[in-house]
């Protein structure tokens, strides 16, 4: 793309927006803030005698209006509304955008810090460079986050004044620390970014560490506000009988009883954990998408190699964070269930049960995409053919688990299908719709994805460890016994009562986690200093793999949007569940179809904006502008290529 054209375009855009703002302002003033007295005065100048009866009537009406306006007492509005989109959608989209950017801003420092740390330990410069590359995305995103945060705040104050006021009643003491932390976040972020290479490595790492601490603290505070809306109370064993009781943070009329209970409420910690993990996965995938974007733009082999590697690392981070995410999700769901059976059933069996089928499709796509990327990556190594034969089986396992996970508990069926099945569930498929089957499926999915990664890791490498055969066998045994254990518990779950079956999820999870850890522990020495049977050719990967990265980032973003809908929609017509009722016309829970439309629009806006972020970040890598006479030849060449 020609830079001159872009600058011209921006100029035009800026001009148009200035004109538009002026016009809009004029329009508002004309319509909204008319000054009746001045007009009346103007008429008075004309003299009363000259007024026709019609003019007299108009004047009287205006006088009456004015008198009424003066007499009208000030009333506090409960709700205001935006025409066309409506209050809910406005706040929804703003909150979601704020959240997406915030997630990105919180996550990138996390793994930038880790990568920098790895580079510091390994003394490898390329890690340092990579971390810097990630950090470059931050500053623009940080401004975006703040902008949307401000939008969201205004949106809430304008559209939901009464409710916002209520939240302030509860949480006002937390606002000051929040702002303070935000200030610190900005401080650390900019010093971390601009101080790259200016501070000593230890000092710089400290800055990165503080940045993460502060960022996480900010999120924890904000999470308290929103989780309070879901579960306004804390779990505590008040009467000392060993069974935790529910301690409400507010009185029945909504007055605050204890800020501590409101803050450390039921779903606060699960949401915190779920969000940290999801943020890392999301941030990784967006960073990988950035790398893919740059890879596709890249002209030189060197650039290609760099961005290929960056995309790989970003995706690696995303997938590693993604693996435990389902468990965090279960923890959150379990807490919601424990808080209220009604909310729980609402979520899993009620209005939202279909949402989880869509979620299954998204997560299945994510797993499939991640594996696909790894398999394509095997083409980077020479001698990768050896492992190709496993791909078929991995794929079968993944597709099977995907299918099990996407099996709805109650399928959409026509009347004749219901008649044929003799009920709303199919005699065989109903087994697959069960928690047992789904837990098993997700565990096997995780194992398979890890297996793909292992295969990828050893493509083109040969271990030189003295006990390599033994160790490889040990890995195989650990892997297959974990898979067997998970499957065993999954099947056995159908033969025991529910209380026991629910407990089966725990050994399943632990066996998978243990297997991952053990296999990794074995794998590290096994492939230390491994003999390379061929070179890893970074940058020599089919372009479609880069599109797969972008697809993964898209799916992640969309998934986050969808989960935002369910988390917020669960409350149904409540602002604060069970305490403050939403009485606005938007109080209903929109249908899934509508929600997915809003989510899609949000995702598109986000990707539009993130595209700008990418573009701005990529400017840093470009040559500086030079006087035209010199640049002419280059420019033409570039133009030719682009065409």
């Amino acid at each position: 793309m020609n830079r001159n054209r872009i600058i011209f375009g921006i100029g035009v855009l800026a001009f148009v927006s200035v004109i538009a703002t002026v016009r809009l302002g004029g329009f508002l003033v004309d319509n909204e803030y008319r000054q009746p007295d001045r007009q009346v005065a103007a008429q008075e100048e004309q003299g009363e005698a000259e007024l026709t009866p019609r003019q007299q009537g108009i004047a009287d009406e205006q006088a009456a209006d004015e008198a009424e306006a003066r007499a009208r007492p000030y009333e506090e509005a409960e709700y205001r509304t935006v025409s066309f989109v409506g209050s809910r959608v406005t706040v929804w989209v703003l909150a979601q955008l704020h959240l997406l950017f915030a997630a990105f801003v919180l996550a990138v420092p996390l793994f930038a810090f880790i990568i920098e740390f790895v580079g510091y330990v390994k003394k490898e410069e390329r890690y340092n460079k990579l971390a810097y590359e990630f950090t470059k995305l931050l500053s623009v995103s940080f401004s975006m986050t703040a902008t949307f945060g401000a939008f969201l705040t205004f949106g809430l104050i304008i559209l939901y004044p009464k409710f916002t006021n209520y939240l302030m009643h509860i949480f006002s003491p937390t606002f000051l620390p929040y702002v303070l932390l935000f200030f610190l976040e900005a401080l650390f972020l900019y010093s971390y970014y601009y101080g790259w290479g200016k501070f000593g490595p230890k000092m710089h790492l400290f800055l990165g560490f503080m940045l993460n601490i502060v960022g996480t603290a900010i999120m924890f505070i904000a999470n308290a506000w929103l989780t309070f809306m879901m579960s306004p109370g804390r779990r505590d064993d008040v009467d000392g009988d060993g069974v935790p009781d529910f301690v409400s943070a507010v009185s029945e009329s909504g007055a605050l009883l204890s800020l501590r209970d409101a803050f450390f409420n039921f779903t606060w910690m699960p949401i915190n954990i779920h969000r940290i993990i999801a943020n890392v996965a999301f941030g990784g995938s967006i960073a990988a998408a950035y790398a893919a974007f740059r890879y596709l733009q890249a002209k030189t082999d060197e650039e290609k190699a760099h961005f290929d590697w960056m995309g790989y690392v970003g995706n690696f981070v995303a997938i590693i964070a993604f693996l435990p995410l389902p468990f965090a999700g279960y923890y959150l769901a379990a807490e919601i269930y424990a808080f209220s059976q009604t909310l729980g059933i609402q979520m899993m069996g009620g209005t939202f049960s279909w949402l989880f089928v869509i979620q299954a499709a998204l997560i299945g796509n994510l797993f499939l995409g991640a594996n696909y990327y790894l398999w394509l990556g095997m083409g980077r190594m020479e001698g990768g053919v050896h492992f190709q034969k496993f791909i078929k089986w991995l794929l079968i396992a993944i597709a099977l688990c995907f299918a099990v996970w996407a099996t709805p508990r109650y399928a959409i069926s026509s009347v004749s299908e219901i008649a044929a099945m003799g009920g709303s569930s199919h005699p065989q498929l109903s087994y697959l719709g069960q928690m047992s089957a789904k837990n098993t499926a997700v565990n096997i999915l995780i194992l398979s994805t890890y297996m793909s990664f292992l295969l990828y890791r050893r493509t083109g490498r040969q271990s030189v460890h003295p006990h390599r055969q033994l160790l490889t066998r040990a890995q195989a045994i650990v892997f297959s016994s974990a898979a067997a254990l998970v499957t065993f518990y999954g099947v056995y779950g159908y033969f025991v009562d529910s209380a026991t079956r629910i407990r089966f999820a725990i050994p399943q999870v632990y066996s998978v986690l243990a297997a991952l850890v053990v296999i990794t522990v074995i794998d590290l020495p096994l492939y230390r200093n491994a003999r390379q049977s061929g070179e890893t050719k970074w940058g020599k990967v089919p372009a479609i793999s880069q599109y797969a990265l972008i697809f993964i980032a898209l799916s992640f973003t969309w998934l986050m949007g969808l989960m935002g809908y369910v988390r917020s929609g669960l409350r149904q017509e409540w602002h604060v569940y069970g305490v403050v009722l939403d009485t606005s016309p938007d109080a209903y829970t929109p249908s899934l179809g509508f929600a997915t439309q809003v989510v899609s629009v949000t995702v598109l806006i986000f990707f539009g904006l993130i595209g700008v972020v990418f573009w701005l970040s990529s400017l840093g890598g470009k040559k500086d502008w030079e006087p035209k006479a010199v640049a002419d030849g280059d420019g033409r060449l570039e133009g030719g290529q682009a065409a």
Binding site: Y337, Q341, T342, P408, A411, S424, S425, Y431, Y494, S498
Partner: protein, 272 residues
């Protein structure tokens, strides 16, 4: 066997065997896998699976096959080359022409079949287990849905004799009132079940009783269809509000009995 339509499954497996024996190429395998799974989802089950689920499965199958074919350069070329040869080489001209005619014909037939399916009453998705209220009042007794358990369940360990008595009473209640719809064996297939829509609950089903707390079951027994929230589209269900006919004890007893008969335990409190 296992609810499968054995002849179809065996025939599909046999075709696969032949392909393996003839060492078919990647493209043929891909086509076979797609086709065989389509046929399996469509005809492979003794009780056909719903169209919607089959579509989900086929979508996943298609995605997986595309991933497989394109996940390495070799496989991609193995997949594409035969197609290229079919299009380019003169000796396949007849086959190509045949394909050019056959595919549109297939599409046309598909559309035709879709358009001419016999009319059916519109079906509507329905929440099978809608969320219960937080509490309910039955015969002046208020039950907290989150914490209530069957008051007689604990007799199972504490007092087996009393437990048996309650079970026997539950059995009486069930066979005086419930089996017309829910069936003698509780399969949701009683003598009136065929006339009802939605069909009565199948208590043998692993996805019904075991995933519900006994308070939920009690809610359904006591309040019946009229007590369903709007999201449960109550007005087709024939489940009576049994509080009109039965005492609290009778309802808890029959609640106890249907769990016991099927060998299930109610979902424990506070677990998901």
């Amino acid at each position: 066997m296992w609810g499968l339509n054995l002849p179809v499954v065996l025939a599909l497996a046999a075709i696969g065997g032949v392909l393996a024996w003839r060492r078919a190429n990647t493209l043929v395998w891909l086509l076979y896998t797609g086709g065989a799974l389509w046929a399996f989802f469509r005809f492979g089950f003794a009780v056909p699976i719903p169209q919607s689920v089959a579509t989900i499965y086929l979508g996943i199958t298609g995605l997986a096959l595309v991933c497989y074919a394109s996940s390495s350069r070799e496989r991609l070329s193995e997949t594409i080359q035969p197609i290229q040869r079919l299009i380019l080489e003169p000796r396949y001209r007849l086959a190509l022409a045949g394909l050019l005619v056959a595919l549109p014909a297939l599409a046309a037939y598909n559309v035709y079949a879709d358009l001419t399916v016999p009319l059916e009453a519109p079906g509507f998705g329905r929440e099978v287990h809608p969320p219960p209220p937080t509490e309910m009042t039955v015969h002046d007794e208020t039950i907290d849905m989150a914490t209530a358990e069957n008051p007689y369940l604990h007799y199972k360990h504490d007092d087996p004799e009393l437990y048996a008595e309650h079970l026997e009473n539950g059995r009486r209640v069930y066979y005086e009132n419930c089996f017309w719809c829910h069936g003698d064996g509780m399969g949701g297939d009683g003598m009136f079940a065929h006339g009802l829509n939605p069909v009565p609950s199948n208590f043998n089903d692993v996805g019904t009783l075991p995933i519900l707390q006994s308070s939920f079951v009690q809610w359904r027994i006591a309040k019946g269809a009229p007590g369903l929230p709007a999201s449960g589209t109550p007005w087709d269900s024939a489940m009576p509000a049994w509080e009109k006919f039965l005492t609290n004890e009778e309802m808890w007893d029959v609640n106890l009995f249907i769990y016991d008969f099927n060998g299930y335990e109610p979902r424990a409190l506070g677990q998901h």
